[in-house]
């Protein structure tokens, strides 16, 4: 009977779990879920709701994929998809979400945290006293005594306040209550059952600051390494109205956009990250930053991106065509050398170029002053045109190896017989280049050109590291320079030297995203077009 009962179960196990490997999968899934679940719980506890929702989605997704036989093919991509959700899709949604909040200076924490922090604030009532303290701990570490000295020099020994019992003051008489001899500072050297704690030991004790000492009606708490005082909570929170009331004088603080504000503009610290609707967008649209240098910056942004692509592509193509010449010697070594700029981290290259362009100390100006025998070389950082030229030169250096690689590959794929036919027909080398090489090349390289354009359109590293967007535009009332592109300009608007405002920055980045999205769309259009060209050829 037992056998017949076991049979279907075993079958079930075999069917759904597929033996030992399935069991291992199940254990791993449970462990991973446990880990992620714990992480999610922490996030929820700290009030990071958007992120915890993402983690819940990922947990459900992973568990489903690894346990459901239906979703077996998805297993190969599960980790990748989870990473995509976490690192790509979530940041996009989070940016949009942030754009509607005041996340930034004064508003860095969640509402739960802010309320907790405000509730922690204490005040000393007018009749309240402050003391210096020394703590004593019972041998089983569960109870404490506090030796206090007020400003008049009177000393007290207080027991812990527990429940409704209230602590008590103990007379400091040697021989009574187990109190031993008094030290030089008037504190007992020993108290029976209790050990004197040194300052650091007391500071490490996490329970100590939370304990109330002395009589119930006027409890004393440790407030700092030096002071214990008869403190009371300063602000009482009313969850129903979402307001704080000052216990000292009754002032009411209302929640205004994530800051509890009282009459006369008084604000409680800290504020929290609050939803403020369209305010960030409103601020951007009406900001002086939009009126002023934006047109100059957008035009330069397009010019910069276009010229960067054009120049790097031209140079890269020219070099790979040169390689195509069979009479060319030492190709391999030269190619390796020419690839070097591509292998060095671009930030380092930018900083090296920046040093070379330095008007006073840079090698470029040293050469210019020596060769042309002039007192001073051109001011690469302060002259608008020169700074722009310098940036294009640096970008050319950074970008040509990429197109050299790409085009040399693409050139191989163009069939040689077309050239032979053209030669037979008497086409000149230039004609061959423009009529055969370039159109065929663009079929395969075209999308890459657009991608490179978009990359350079948002090439924040180069602009920011080279001269920080400078030189400044004289007519601009906001921080803006002649080499600033949109992304570096909005960075200055949102961060710059004027504090941190993630909410505002998110709102602006949505605008930039819109521009880039339009260009990506164009890319798809162009890609289709070239494909058609390709088919025709």
């Amino acid at each position: 009977m037992t056998e017949t009962k076991l049979q279907p179960e075993a079958k079930f196990v075999q069917k759904t779990l597929g033996g030992l490997s399935s069991l291992i999968t199940l254990i791993i899934v449970i462990l991973v879920d446990l880990g992620l679940g714990w992480f999610t719980y922490r996030l929820l506890q700290l009030g990071y709701y958007p992120l915890s929702i993402v983690f819940i989605i990922i947990i459900l997704f992973l568990t489903f994929v690894f346990l459901s036989p239906k979703a077996k093919p998805l297993r190969w991509m599960a980790i990748g998809i989870s990473a995509l959700i976490l690192f790509s899709i979530f940041p996009i949604f989070y940016t949009v979400y942030n754009a509607f909040t005041n996340y930034g200076d004064k508003h860095f924490i969640t509402k739960t945290q802010a309320i907790e922090k405000i509730q922690e604030q204490k005040y000393l009532p007018t009749e309240g006293k402050t003391y210096t303290w020394i703590a004593y701990q019972s041998s089983d570490k569960s109870h404490y005594l506090l030796f206090l000295k007020d400003q008049a020099g009177t000393t007290y020994l207080m027991t812990q306040t527990e429940g409704d019992k209230g602590g008590q003051a103990i007379d400091l008489v040697t021989g009574q209550n187990g109190i031993g001899e008094l030290d030089a500072d008037g504190s007992p050297k020993t108290i029976e059952g209790y050990t004197k704690m040194n300052k650091l030991l007391a500071a490490v004790d996490k329970a100590l600051p939370t304990i109330k000492f002395g009589p119930e009606e006027r409890t004393i708490q440790i407030s700092s390494p030096n002071t214990a005082a008869e403190l009371l909570p300063q602000f009482n929170y009313d969850a129903a109205t979402n307001t704080f009331t000052d216990a000292e004088n009754g002032t009411v603080y209302r929640d205004v956009n994530g800051t509890y504000s009282g009459p006369g503009g008084k604000e409680l610290i800290p504020g929290y990250i609050a939803n403020i609707g369209l305010e960030n967008f409103n601020k951007f649209v009406t900001s002086p930053g939009l009126r002023g240098p934006l047109v100059t910056i957008i035009i330069w942004n397009f010019v910069f991106a276009f010229l960067s692509v054009f120049l790097t592509f031209s140079l890269g193509l020219a070099i790979s065509i040169l390689y195509g010449d069979p009479s060319f010697k030492g190709k391999k070594i030269l190619r390796t050398l020419l690839l070097i700029p591509y292998t060095i981290p671009s930030l380092i290259t930018i900083l090296i170029w920046r040093g070379m362009f330095n008007p006073q100390l840079g090698i470029i100006n040293r050469i210019i002053t020596d060769v042309f025998n002039v007192a001073e070389g051109p001011d690469w950082f302060l002259d608008a045109t020169l700074a722009r030229i310098a940036i294009l030169v640096v970008n050319l250096w950074l970008g040509y190896p990429y197109f050299m690689l790409v085009t040399s590959g693409a050139l191989q794929s163009i069939p040689g017989d077309i050239y032979e036919a053209a030669e037979v027909d008497g086409a000149s080398p230039w004609k061959r280049f423009f009529k055969i090489t370039l159109p065929l090349l663009l079929v395969s390289v075209g999308p890459l050109l657009i991608a490179s354009f978009i990359f350079n359109f948002n090439n924040f590293n180069l602009i920011y590291a080279f001269v920080g967007g400078g030189p400044p535009i004289p007519s601009a009332t906001t921080q803006a320079g002649y080499t600033d592109i949109l992304i570096s300009y909005v960075y200055n608007l949102a961060f710059g030297s004027r504090g941190i405002n993630y909410g505002y920055a998110s709102a602006i980045s949505i605008f930039v995203f819109a521009i880039v999205a339009v260009m990506s769309l164009l890319q798809f259009r162009f890609t289709n077009m070239w494909e058609e060209v390709g088919e025709n050829v």
Binding site: Q45, F108, K165, G167, L201, G496, R498
Partner: protein, 530 residues
């Protein structure tokens, strides 16, 4: 397949529940519970044991806690050396982490519970962290008297101390002592010496500026220039902007003249300026103590003097701040007052990275001649403004000098334009503000506002149910008041809600609370007297 879904659901739910159960042990919010069951262990019946050995108070605590500090690359190595000593003395670990963007990283790390217990930042950055509630107030106890009062003031916000200062930083007037024999005390002397040195072919330029704003400030102040004026209490007043005023323009005119005469280099880049001084291409440079180690390593023939014509630099104060989200706030504070605030530690910090100590016992023992000179140059230094408005000043203020040097603008145009841009940026913050400026402001805000200041936040009304309300305690007397919007006089309402109308007049019979209520519909102001 149904069963597999069931299994799936069970696994998910079980792991969530397990995770939730497991979590509280690690949750930081959990408060330690005081056992209420046990009675106080005071037993008066028991005879005292006179034999009990005195408890050694210096006994090392168990290494249950450790402290994490974020410091920049200059200070981290010093603190790392101290960590070994700390471990030896207290048997506790001090983890020093070298973080280059302390403020920005701290802002995200602290609320997430990942921040360090202590950070070291200059006081103007601390202001922002305090306003965001990320820093715990400090109580230095009796050690407070050992610190320079001006340094303490720099870390005091709203009457509370939030940082323990350890060093002050300000510029000094550096000169090349091989080239300059007599120390100049006026800018005219600097000019004459420079001219002579250039004529003798000893230097390329007489002087170079290491920047356009902070690094040129002592020259500006010597000509009467300033950024923000100060009110009676000594606090910076953002409504008194000195950028477009005479002193600043006088400085720029002078500097431009020097550039045209070839005495001053037109370079404004910090690194370049320092290299030029190090290479002996210039004789004079206004520079700070952070450059001392470099100059010493290079064996540069430098010396330091006070600024010509009584120029004063800005003063920055470096200090230790305690993370308000730290689980060891008390320990961190104890560490600061017991271990860092000692003559030995403070002098060790000073030796490793020369800065003028803010700790007076260490300052008294200061024997570094360069630092003594720096301290002298900064004896009247103005604290770097820690008000948020300062953030809106830097770029426009600095760019003005660039335009002057390039000849794109006259000094007057450049600085008045910069002042207008800064004023506009500051005003953008008060957009939407409803204020009731008047002759009551100073008396009714305990001096936080001056009278008739429409941009003063302390007298602003707050929105309640569509109306703007504010209650202030005003002493008895006769007053006048008006309603002003957006922190300026551009839109203001007087009696009967008339734009640019007459002032409201009111008399407070006895000291008491006056409530102003502004109705944005009718533009009328209601004044409720006590």
């Amino acid at each position: 397949m149904k069963k597999s879904y069931l299994l799936f659901a069970i696994v998910v739910i079980a792991s969530m529940v397990l995770a939730a159960c497991a979590a509280p042990t690690a949750a930081p919010t959990q408060a330690p519970v005081v056992e209420p069951t046990k009675a106080p262990v005071v037993e008066p019946t028991k005879a005292p044991e006179p034999t009990a050995a005195p408890v050694e108070p210096t006994e090392a605590p168990e290494p249950t806690a450790s402290l994490r500090i974020w410091a920049d690359e200059q200070r981290a190595p010093v603190l790392n050396e101290l960590a070994a000593k700390f471990k030896e003395t207290y048997n506790m670990d001090l983890v020093v982490e070298n973080v280059s963007t302390i403020r920005d990283s701290f802002i995200t790390a602290a609320p997430a519970g990942e921040g360090p217990d202590i950070i070291i930042v200059p006081h103007d950055q601390a202001a922002q962290l305090v306003a965001s509630g990320l820093v715990a107030p400090l109580d230095l106890g009796e050690k407070e008297a050992d610190f320079s009062p001006s340094a303490l003031k720099a870390f005091t916000y709203d009457g509370k101390l939030y940082g323990m200062p350890y060093a002050t930083e300000n510029l000094g007037f550096f000169y090349n002592k091989e080239l300059v024999e007599t120390v100049p005390t006026t800018w005219q002397e600097v000019y004459d010496i420079s001219k002579q040195l250039i004529a003798d072919g000893k230097v390329k330029y007489g002087m170079v500026l290491a920047g356009t704003s902070y690094d040129a400030y002592p020259w500006m102040t010597s000509q009467g220039g300033y950024v923000f004026g100060r009110n009676a209490a000594g606090d910076y007043d953002p409504t008194d902007l000195g950028i477009g005023k005479e002193g600043m323009i006088k400085f720029a005119t002078m500097a431009k003249q020097w550039v045209d005469d070839g005495v001053l280099s037109d370079n404004l880049d910090n690194t370049t300026a320092k290299s030029m001084f190090l290479n002996g291409e210039v004789a004079f440079l206004m520079n700070g103590p952070w450059e001392l180690n470099n100059l010493r390593t290079a064996n540069a023939p430098y010396a330091i003097a006070a600024f010509p014509d009584g120029g004063v630099p800005f003063m920055g104060v470096q200090g230790f701040l305690v993370n308000s989200f730290s689980k060891n706030v008390l320990l961190a504070q104890t560490f600061l007052t017991e271990f860092i605030a000692t003559e030995e530690t403070m002098l060790a910090l000073e030796k490793a990275d020369p800065r003028v100590p803010a700790y007076l016992p260490a300052l008294a023992k200061l024997d570094d001649p360069d630092l003594i000179k720096i301290a002298e140059a900064g004896k009247d230094a103005q604290p770097m403004p820690a008000i948020p408005e300062m953030g809106k000043v830097w770029t426009a203020w600095g760019d003005a000098l660039t335009f002057v040097f390039k000849g794109e603008k006259t000094p007057e145009d450049a600085y008045t334009f910069a002042a207008a841009a800064i004023a506009e940026a500051i005003a953008a913050d008060t957009k939407g503000m409803v204020n009731v400026p008047g002759s009551w402001q100073a008396a009714g805000t305990a001096g936080a506002c001056e009278d008739w200041k429409p941009e003063c936040p302390a007298s602003a009304l707050t929105e309640q149910d569509g109306k703007f309300v504010g209650t202030f305690t005003i002493p008895a007397g006769d007053y006048e008041v008006k309603v002003a919007l957006d922190g300026g006089w551009a839109v203001n309402y007087g009696v009967d809600g008339k734009a640019d109308g007459d002032n409201y007049k009111f008399t407070v019979p006895a000291d008491g609370e006056v409530t102003f209520t502004f109705d944005p519909e009718s533009k009328l102001l209601d004044i409720k007297l006590p």
